[in-house]
Every structure is written in C-alpha cells, then in structure tokens.
C-alpha cells in the first residue's frame, strides 16, 4: 500500500508541471501529447511531442513540447534524452525555472544538468534604485551558466554606450554601475538598455534589461536648532539661603563703627553715634530681611560655558549643513527604474 502511494505521488510530481502550462497550448498534436502525458501514456507522449515539433509551433509551444519530452524521458529513466530535451527548453526560454518542490528529483536534476551544458545569461535583475550622482551605484545581478567572458554594457537610446564590466564569470554575478560618464557627470536622463553578453568559444548568449534613468534635485538638510540629547541649561542659579547678608551687613557696619571709634579725636571727645546708629541700623535690618528672603539668582558660570559650547557646536554644525546644502543644490538625484523586458534575449 505504501509503495502504491509513493508511486502515485511520484507520478503527480511529473504531471504537475506539465498540466500547469497546458492552457496556453494551441497546437492539436501538442494538446494530445499533453493529454497522453496526463494519462501516463509515455510512449504516446514521445511520439506525439516529436510529431508536434515537426509542425509549426510558437516559441512557447515548442518549449512546452520539449519540456513534455524532458519529463517523459525522465519518467522513463532516459536521463540523457531528458537532458537534451531540457537543453532545448532553456535555449528557447532561458528564464525557465523548475520548482524542486513540484517536480521529481530526476527531472529536476536532468534540468540542472541541461542548464550547465549550455551557455546562458539568466535572471538578469536590476532593482529600482535612487541615489545622489557619484554617491551610489546601480546593482546589477545575473547568472552565467558556464564559465565565459562576459561583457556588460549600457546602451542609450541615443546610441551612447557605456561599459560596465568585462570579465570572466561563472554562476551568480553581482555588478554595480555608478551611472556616471567618464568626466564624472551623471548619465543623462533617458531610456537605456543593460546588455549582458557572454561568450565561450563559438557560443555566445546575451540578455538585456531596459531601464529608465531620471534626474531629480537632491533634498537639502534643515538647519539645527538643538542637538539631540543635549539641552540648554539655566544660566542662573539660586544660591542656598544663608546668613551671609546679615553677616555682610554686620561686617560693613562694624567697619564703619570701628573706623569712627578709632579715628575720633581725643581732644574733641566722643562724637555722636546717632548718625551711625541710623544708617548702621538700617543696614543690619536690611541684612536680616535679605537673610530671610529667597536669594537672588546668580549667574551659573559652568552652565553659561556649557551653553556657549552648545551654541558654538550648533553653529558649526549649521555651517557644515549650509556647505552641504550648497553642494547638494549642485547634485543630481538619479532614479533608475527597470522597464518591461522585450523578448530580445537568445543565443547568437
């Protein structure tokens, strides 16, 4: 029972990718081949698919016919033939990718072997990006299925061509294009095509991706009014209440009293203290009242210095921002967007 279930799952694995594309098939022979495949009549699939290939088919139908052959040969354990069939599939549709979760390991491995036996540039991807000219680059990635000399260029609609890279690559390739001319200026706005050409001996393959480059102004920075995490401190502080005012009043009044007593003329006798009592008393009362009152705020030297440093720092930062903004007003914001891909890729 378990073996029967496993066999059924195996067959479903072969059947699933084949049925997925059946709706686009217009050719009657190919439809019959598809039906035979669905009915697990593999001998009939081979003959019908080969017959369909001798007829007039669209590219997608031709790829479907070879794919049916690939899956069928895989099911019949004819791996070499399956590989040949899958090679035809990827030559017609280089972006064709099998889902390892939905196809049998045999078919998948045959497809993988087929991929490594033909020279292809696949999965050319250019993501939308935006950066200031000269301060960024466009990421370009693709896969080369065999070791090959790969030349990557950008061709403008006006005929201008800019080399991005030329080197020997195999497998996943990641490149970056700064989108600048030889003199450092950003490339003019417009439509371009990124072309990747791979060459290995007599074999050559190219893939392309159109992109649109647009120019915009660079955002300027706002001036700072404060530094994050730093706040101005109060420049005055109220000292703690003390007896200092009364003490000072005593000191000054005492000075006047001592001076008066010490300087009085002996021949003239002791002078009247009424005048000193009036003014000294007023000073002492004032000192006592000031002792009871909340002291006057006084400058906090450390805070004043700190605030001055903070102000200087903010001023310096704003000067830098102003310089940066002057430079930014002369810069260009480049925005690159990939466009719909034409069906131009293929072996040459």
């Amino acid at each position: 029972m378990t073996r029967h279930l496993r066999a059924l799952a195996w067959l479903v694995g072969f059947a699933a990718p084949a049925t997925a594309g059946a709706q686009t098939v217009q050719n009657a022979t190919l439809r019959r081949a598809q039906q035979a495949y669905d009915n697990l009549e593999y001998r009939q699939v081979v003959s019908l698919a080969q017959a369909a290939l001798r007829e007039r088919l669209t590219g997608a139908e031709r790829a479907r016919a070879y794919e049916l052959l690939g899956f069928t040969y895989g099911a019949l354990d004819s791996i070499l033939r399956a590989v040949d069939a899958f090679k035809q599939v990827v030559l017609i549709d280089p972006e064709r990718q099998l889902d390892p979760n939905r196809v049998s390991p045999k078919a998948y491995s045959a497809f993988d072997v087929a991929l490594r036996q033909v020279l292809l540039v696949r999965q050319l991807r250019i993501d939308s990006t935006s950066f200031v000219g000269g301060r960024g680059a466009v990421p370009i990635r693709f896969t080369v299925t065999q070791p090959a000399r790969v030349v990557t260029r950008v061709i403008g609609t006006g005929g201008g061509s800019y080399m991005i890279d030329s080197g020997a690559w195999n497998g996943q390739v990641n490149l970056s294009w700064p989108a600048r001319l030889a003199n450092g200026d950003p490339v003019p706005a417009g439509n371009y095509t990124v072309v990747v050409e791979a060459r290995l001996g007599q074999n050559a393959f190219s893939a392309s991706q159109p992109i649109r480059v647009s120019h915009g102004s660079v955002d300027t920075l706002p001036s700072l009014t404060s530094l994050p995490g730093y706040q101005y401190l109060p420049e005055t502080e109220v000292p703690p209440q003390s007896w200092r005012p009364l003490g000072l009043a005593f000191l000054y009044t005492g000075g006047a009293l001592v001076g008066t007593l010490g300087l009085e003329s002996s021949s003239l006798g002791s002078s009247s203290k009424r005048e000193l009592a009036v003014v000294g008393g007023a000073a002492l009362v004032t000192g006592f009242v000031m002792t009871l009152r909340k002291p006057a705020p006084r400058p906090a030297a450390a805070n004043i210095l700190y605030n001055r440093l903070l102000r200087d720092q903010i001023a310096r930062r704003n000067q830098d921002i102003a310089k940066e903004n002057v430079a930014r007003r002369q810069q260009v914001q480049l925005t690159l967007v990939p466009m719909a891909k034409p069906s131009g890729a293929g072996p040459r």
Partner: protein, 209 residues
Amino acid sequence: MVLLVLAARTAPAQGITVTVGPQFALASYREVASGLRYQGAGFGGGASARYRKLSAEASVVRLTLDPAAGGTATSGFTATEVDVWVAYDLAPYASVEAGFIRRTADPEFDAQSVGAVRIGARSFYEIGPGATVLFRANYLAAPKFSGGGHAGFSIDLGLGLDVRLAGRLHGTAGYTFQRINRKTNPGGTGEIDAPIQGTVARVGLAVGF
C-alpha cells in the same frame, strides 16, 4: 535738579542707570574743643549714575546746626555740604574713587568752611536682590579752610546702603564720618591744634531711570 532729572530720562537709552532723589540728613559737628559741638538736621538731594564700570554721585545737603546740650557754643549756623565723586570698579566688589567735598557755613565765621579733594576706595556687596551695602575710606587731600591753617591728616569714612524698594524706587542711607586734623597759627604765636570732626547721616528715596 531739574536738569539732572531731564538728563536721567535720556540715560537708559545709552546704557546708563541714573537715580535721583531727596534726602533727609542728621548731623553732628565738633570743632577745636570738645565743648564746641553742634547737632542738627537738614534736607538735600542726590543723584547717582552708573555706566558699566564707571559710577558717579553728587549730593547737596543743607543742615541747620544748633549748639548741643552741655556745649559751650552759643549760636548755631547753617552748613551746606556738597559731595561729588567718580569711581571706577576694579572688581565686582571694589572700586577706586576721587572727588571733592565742600562745606560752607553761614554765618561765615561761626564755623570753618572746608574744601578738600577726596581720594580713596570703596567696597560694596549685594547682600540680596536689589540691596547693596558699601564701606568707603577716603583721604582728604589739600584741604582749604576759611579760617586758614592746614591739615596733615584728614580722613573721611562712609557706610552706605541702597535698597530697591519697589520697581524704580530705591531707599538710600549713607553715613559719613570726617576727621580733619587742622592746625593753625593765629597771630604767628605758634601752631595750635584746631581739629574738626563731623558725622552726617543721610536717609532718602531715589527714583531710578
């Protein structure tokens, strides 16, 4: 005084603080011997100004001095005291000052009229919000007397108080002690001591501009 008030009104625009106000004064005065002593009171006015580290003050007070009880003086006199000085702050609590004093007596021969240059220093301290206390000591240089003579040692001490009472209104109080070692030579018979000693207390109000 009117001119001072008018000048004071234009001062704040130039960064100058000015106060002007009336004063009531108490005074005692002794001359030559301990028996010749007087006490009295009077009125006057004063004005002060400050511009950065520079300050100045001028005051005039007219005193009516009567013979003190137990003294030998038989009649009183009226004295007019003028005191003018300018000071420059050397520190936030100290300044040097220079000025002149002049005290005239009426009737002229009932007491000595004195004029002198004063040079000295003062110490002041803000003991609370708007309250400043000061102590000063001045040497009275080159004193001149209406009755002649000279003084080798003359000194003028002072205690002052300025309290901001409300808004622009200030209360002021000032104490002055003067000791002048006057010597005279009447009729060429030889020098004799004729010292002068006086104290004045001024209490007043002032309006700040």
